[in-house]
Symmetry: C2
Subunit: 159 residues, 2 copies
Amino acid sequence: MEKTQDVYHIRPIGTVRRNGDDVCLEIDEPFRPAMRELGGFSHVMVFWWADRFADEEHRTTLQMNPPYAEDHLTGVFASRSPVRPNPLGMTTCKVVDVDEAEGVIRVADIDAFDGTPVVDLKAYFPVCDRVQTAHIPKWLVGWPEWMPEDGIGLQPGEA
Amino acid sequence: MEKTQDVYHIRPIGTVRRNGDDVCLEIDEPFRPAMRELGGFSHVMVFWWADRFADEEHRTTLQMNPPYAEDHLTGVFASRSPVRPNPLGMTTCKVVDVDEAEGVIRVADIDAFDGTPVVDLKAYFPVCDRVQTAHIPKWLVGWPEWMPEDGIGLQPGEA
């Protein structure tokens, strides 16, 4: 309990840019050396700041009825909702192209709006995150067992 | 570039506790309602604050020679190192048991030290993060294609 008064500071390292089907991450100049070798990976985990949900009302919302199971009251930690105490989004993205000099990472898609601040990137290592025998609750049975080829994007009408 | 002056605030929601082979996440009381339904998932992604690497020296280190490829200068975004501009760690953990009332999530293992602050939890959804055809750079070939059954823990001598 003693730690609940602590506050940590994070800063953007780039921005999500959407232009029709063209989706990329623009990385701010000071951070571009950190992109070295990222182009050798097929996927990258993109950590972003859900700035539309960073107000106190959203940050104190701990349970919700998700759109895919509206009759099922769910804790935000059991979801991927951007509504949560620390509004961090995380999307696994397929890497299309990396230009370290220009600071541009083109990705197949991402479920974040144009202009969303990016706060971290981590290469996707199968040894860390590719789970062979994962299960989800019975009320979600029927969901795909794999990420779609191009990953998860915005829903129609959201962009 | 205009966003680089922004600062976002995040706060701990719990703490990593290690006691020999017993590894759990203690969730602070105010946040326990957010755990609802998490017990139905086999795995959880644990977001933690790498407090041992949160000083300016580590936060301005953008490239390093990783211990698994010491001759290979690598950007921190192409790694899972806790050394990075925003010292967020993220570990996919196998869930052993969830006690919402007590605020305890027992996990098989995690590569974070005892006392590490936890800042977010996201249920592992295969549709989001289980990538069917992922590849890593040639200089890492030979690494496992799956997460180990119990996940990633600390290295001997680190605890």
